[in-house]
């Protein structure tokens, strides 16, 4: 049925929600994967199993449940380390990409960014990679600068050089894949240029790690962040990685249980890495559930995931491009983009479009996608966005295309 390189029927069977019917018994077509993905039964059952059998607080108790829970929690750290090829002691569990970036801004940023310094971000960043830097640069009387986006949806790297040449840049922070345009950032090149000047680089990998194979050591960045819920994992779990030397010199972010070595009334010493940055009871069940998501993706193979998404995106772009009145954003070069398609259809506002096609069971996202700076750059108030994952099919794309045409007719375009 599918010319896909992965066995999509088998995969779909692992995702119970895909059997769900919405509005008047329409099968669900879930194309909102850039917002959050669905979870395979393996992940759902792993959380279930934790609570049924070995729920306990971790790290400090010696009883059997605590031992089992601690081992499972730390096993996830090992798996994440292997998945992105880093050391486990450099991996910090947080709530999500947003918290990871804020942790860096609060801790590393407040220690290292001074008055007159520059933090460089880009016009296609998610709010999570803009607003923390606005707060930091305002507090420090530093400057926030933006690398522009060209008409193909790619970063204008010459502008990076201009900033770097000022000699005042402390950090360049850039998303590895745009959550609106799908553009895959040439992060290697950015990192190379920054490191030549001794400038640190943060990679917001919220949209890349779920969809393409990433080797962080090869990438050679300094900070790296992503969210479990965008890659088959539970909500409430994210990962921050940073180089050991950097983490060792960073002040803690949140303070409290687990991150301390010794607490006295007037002075306190910190625990070893990575615990120094994990204060309080963590999201134990969901970190453990994330293990199953990593297993699932490794089992398929990230190369296969990417291949499948390329095929689906190509197919969708072809079909969409002939719809009357459609405007597609981003590069047509599939080597440079992931499975995210932003578009506008005539003068139908994306919210209206999403409401209409939701009636046909198709779930897409509409709005500014937490990227209002990019919306200003594109000179639109909003776009519609379809985004794919391993369980999506060409048949679903066909349903989506038919639904777009129905919207077009309803709006008489």
């Amino acid at each position: 049925m599918q010319a896909s390189t992965i066995n999509i029927e088998n995969i779909r069977r692992d995702f119970p929600i895909l059997q769900r019917k919405v509005h008047n018994n329409k099968p669900l077509v879930y194309f909102d994967n850039a917002a959050t993905t669905q979870k395979p039964i393996q992940v759902i059952d792993s959380i279930h199993n934790y609570y049924l059998n070995y729920n306990s607080n971790i790290h400090r108790a010696v009883h059997q449940l605590a031992e089992e829970a601690t081992a499972a929690y730390e096993l996830t750290r090992d798996k994440v380390a292997k998945f992105i090829n880093v050391n486990r002691e450099e991996l910090i569990f947080v709530r999500g990409t947003t918290e990871a970036i804020n942790l860096i801004a609060y801790s590393w940023g407040r220690q290292n960014v001074q008055k007159g310094d520059i933090v460089v971000t880009t016009e296609y960043e998610h709010h999570s990679n803009i607003v923390p830097w606005q707060l930091l640069t305002k507090e420090k009387e530093a400057k926030l600068e933006y690398i522009g986006v060209d008409d193909n949806g790619e970063l204008i790297l010459d502008q990076l050089d201009d900033y770097l040449n000022t000699g005042r840049v402390k950090l360049v922070t850039v998303s590895h894949m745009s959550n609106v345009l799908g553009t895959i950032t040439n992060a290697e090149e950015i990192i190379r240029r920054c490191h030549k000047k001794g400038v640190k680089v943060l990679v917001d990998a919220a949209q890349s790690v779920p969809h393409i194979k990433v080797d962080v050591q090869k990438l050679d960045c300094d900070f790296f962040a992503f969210s479990a819920h965008k890659m088959l994992g539970p909500t409430g779990v994210g990962v921050l990685w940073a180089r050991k030397e950097i983490l060792e010199n960073m002040q803690p972010f949140n303070a409290g249980g687990d991150m301390i070595r010794e607490v006295h009334k007037y002075n306190t010493t910190w625990n070893d890495l990575p615990y120094k940055f994990e204060a309080g009871t963590p999201n134990i069940a969901d970190v453990i559930g994330f293990s199953a998501a990593l297993d699932y993706l490794e089992n398929i193979g990230m190369d296969k995931v990417r291949e499948h998404e390329i095929e689906l995106t190509k197919y969708a772009l072809e079909k969409m491009s002939v719809i009357k009145g459609i405007k597609l954003y981003g590069t047509p070069d599939m080597n440079k983009r992931g499975g995210v398609i932003s578009f506008n259809l005539g003068d139908i506002h994306p919210h209206d479009l999403a409401t209409i096609i939701d009636e046909d069971g198709v779930a897409i996202r509409s709005g500014h996608h937490c990227a209002q700076v990019l919306m200003e750059r594109l000179d639109v108030s909003a776009t519609s966005r379809a985004s794919f994952y391993i369980y999506n099919t060409k048949e679903e794309v066909d349903v989506f295309i038919r639904s777009l045409n129905r919207a077009r007719e309803l709006f008489r375009i």
């Binding site: 919210h351 209206d352 009636e359 108030s381 909003a382």
Partner: protein, 146 residues
């Protein structure tokens, strides 16, 4: 409501050809707000004369529902007693739009114009008329809309 019910000819017409679109110089009431969830923006300007709405205009960016709702609201209040305008409810707006049964995801779009109107009246009452009691009451109403 099905989308065929929502996107009737009249809504699309108000969306594409909004009545009372524009600005007023030095208006008595002026307010801008946006919906943080979807980014829709709306600005409303009102002049009062003899305690009646003598002029009203709006500008905005957003979906068909929010823009048609705003435009229809301007028509509804034009020439009306200020007292009447102050008392407008959520139900009035939805009925005026002909969309009494909007679901939770979209009702905010329909009510953004009323929210902007109420916050505008709040500022007018508190800053220009110094009528803190009425002002606070209407602010309560505005913040309760969504």
């Amino acid at each position: 409501m099905s989308s065929a019910d929502i996107y009737r000819e009249i809504i699309l017409d108000y969306y594409r050809n909004p009545r009372n679109y524009g600005k007023i110089d030095n208006p008595d009431i002026s307010k801008r707000d946006s919906n943080p969830l979807c980014g829709d923006e709306l600005e409303m300007h009102i002049n009062l004369k003899d305690n009646k709405v003598s002029d009203v205009k709006f500008t905005g960016k957003g979906c068909a529902i929010s823009q048609a709702s705003a435009s229809m609201l301007t028509e509804l209040i034009m020439g009306k007693d200020f007292e009447y305008v102050k008392k407008l409810t959520k139900e009035d707006i939805l009925e005026n739009l002909g969309l009494p049964d909007l679901g939770p995801a979209r009702i905010k779009c329909a009510l953004l114009s009323l929210k902007v109107l109420k916050y505008g009246i709040y500022s007018y009452l508190s800053e220009k008329l110094n009528d803190v009691t009425s002002a606070d009451k209407i602010k309560e109403e505005a913040s309760g809309l969504f």
